[in-house]
């Protein structure tokens, strides 16, 4: 009789350990996926001062727009959680679109090699952000589903496994991140 109880206890403890380890692994994946996103976001932020400098040389009286770009960029740099980053990145994408639209009225700027290179690099990075975002959001979805399953749902919250937020971009900006910014000639 004691043996049976002992075996049952071992089985239950083992089962709980497996579930706990799975949650830890999923949380780890979320963290890793988020740092992948941040790597791409940082590259994007690093390009923007360069872009502003280049545009300034050709379109100095667009100062106001450029200052707003820098402000949006700084806000994006200081955003850390996925929700904050989603809002800040969305705003930044909107500002960048304005800058590229602005280049329409400055033919010299549009022909500048440096500007074209930055534009290509930014659109490339936006593709990468979209890819990293997909991976992060699927990792979060898996983690959130796992902590809501029985029996994890009974102890996950008390062990610090709380639902994570998705990295979402505002609806109207999403198209811009998923497809490269189009400059019409």
């Amino acid at each position: 009789m004691e043996w049976i109880i002992l075996i049952l206890v071992v089985l239950v403890v083992g089962w709980l350990m497996i579930i706990y380890n799975r949650l830890v692994a999923l949380r780890q994946t979320c963290g890793q996926a988020w740092s992948d996103v941040e790597v791409q976001l940082k590259q994007r932020h690093d390009l923007i001062p360069n872009l502003v400098e280049t545009v300034k040389g050709y379109a100095s009286h667009e100062k106001e727009t450029l200052e707003r770009v820098i402000a949006a960029r700084n806000a994006a740099v200081s955003a850390h959680s996925p929700e904050e980053a989603g809002r800040a990145e969305g705003a930044l994408t909107g500002m960048l679109r304005q800058v590229f639209a602005l280049s329409e009225s400055y033919p010299d700027l549009k022909a500048n090699q440096n500007f074209l290179r930055l534009q290509a690099e930014l659109s490339d990075i936006e593709n990468k952000i979209a890819a990293a975002r997909r991976f992060f959001n699927s990792a979060v979805a898996e983690f959130n589903a796992a902590i809501q399953q029985i029996p994890a749902v009974f102890f996950a919250a008390s062990l610090g496994f709380t639902p994570r937020a998705f990295f979402e971009l505002p609806e109207d900006q999403r198209a811009a991140v998923q497809s490269a910014p189009q400059v019409k000639f």
Binding site: Q40, N127, K128, A131
Partner: protein, 355 residues
């Protein structure tokens, strides 16, 4: 997307086969060593004495053979990628050299949180690709210049996803192990057969009695079996792997149409005769591998792969793409223009059978 039925089993089978190949190697090596020893007996005292002498020498010779093959495996382990690149003419490329190819693969890897394999290009107008690598984490994806030029971004992405799936499923590893394994056996067999022919010509057979002849025959039989095994090893890679990799590519890219049109563009233009036979088994498509006896095929036909994609992944098949020269020709692309061209057997109609 479809959960690629039987994928886990496939990965497990690949793992098992890789293990069996590595474990079975010493056994096969023992047989080959015995055969070579038997060849050198030929004492004329009868078959039994020859066999006994060969068996006696085995404890000395076998460790030597084991060392030699360990060295072979060691070299292959460290240098298989440069060796494969050298025999196929592939050149590793950087991000700066091939930004389009690089970005497509990098984005695929980022969206699945994978480490990016290395990339290499073979400068040939033929259209093909293959993956190689000993670990499921890293590896190398090689594509031909012809493939890169002919395919659109979506199609190229589908092919890269196909090769990435080969690496993830362990097909690339099994292919490399089988190639290394088959390489040493066919090397030994070839050396022995050549040496034997040389001995015959110089009249070396005259001092051997009847027993010696029988011993030589048995040795040759063992070697022939080993050599045959090496040839058959290329079929260690199951043909299912291509269907599974196609399905995996669709799962990664969510675009069955791109995979189908990529296959249709590769069809009949994938012939790479310069590539050694063991690597042929690893290619995206291998025309000779898909025809003739089903038993001997290393690749399923493009038609059957497209059929599978249409029925399982819901893609649309544009039918065989006969003429896709890079420059667009609007009049020739019209659908009604293609039928008569095919019927008259113009040089542009090259099915796999012609390749």
């Amino acid at each position: 997307m479809l959960p690629t039925l039987g994928l886990r089993t496939h990965i497990w089978n690949n793992f098992l086969k890789s293990g069996l190949l590595l474990a079975g190697f010493p056994v096969l090596l023992l047989a080959v060593t015995f055969a070579v020893l038997l060849l050198f007996q030929g004492s004329g005292k009868g078959l039994g004495a020859d066999m006994a002498a060969a068996a006696e020498a085995l404890p000395v010779a076998f460790p030597v053979a084991l060392l030699v093959s360990a060295a072979w495996f060691g070299i292959a382990w460290l240098g298989y990628q440069p060796i494969i690149n050298a025999v196929t003419g592939a050149r590793p490329v950087t991000r700066e050299e091939e930004p389009r190819l690089w970005n497509l693969l990098e984005n695929l890897c980022i969206s699945r949180g994978l480490r990016m394999p290395r990339l290499a290009v073979i400068e040939t107008p033929e259209r093909n690709a293959f993956a190689s690598g000993l670990s499921r984490e890293t590896g190398q994806v090689t594509v031909t210049r012809g493939l890169m030029d002919a395919l659109t971004d979506q199609e190229l992405e589908a092919v890269l996803a196909h090769e990435l799936t080969h690496i993830r499923n362990g097909d690339a590893r099994l292919g490399v192990i089988a190639a290394v394994f088959a390489g040493i056996i066919s090397l030994v067999a070839e050396v022995v057969f050549r040496g034997l022919r040389g001995a015959r010509i110089s009249g070396g057979n005259s001092n051997r009695g009847r027993g010696g002849g029988a011993a030589v025959l048995i040795a040759l039989a063992i070697l022939a079996v080993a050599w045959l095994l090496a040839v058959v090893l290329r079929f260690a890679l199951s043909r299912n792997r291509e269907f599974l990799a196609d399905a995996g590519a669709v799962e990664l890219t969510a675009n069955p149409d791109a995979m189908i049109s990529a296959l249709r563009k590769v069809e009949g233009r994938s012939n790479m005769p310069a590539v050694p036979s063991q690597i042929q088994a690893m290619l995206l498509d291998w025309p000779q591998g898909a025809q003739g006896f089903n038993l001997w095929a290393t690749h399923p036909s493009i038609d059957s792969r497209v059929q599978a994609l249409v029925s399982v992944a819901g893609g649309r098949d544009p039918g065989p793409i006969l003429d896709t020269r890079p420059e667009p020709e609007p009049p020739a692309e019209a659908p009604h223009a293609q039928a008569p061209r095919r019927a008259t057997g113009s040089p542009w109609w090259r099915g796999p059978a012609a390749g």
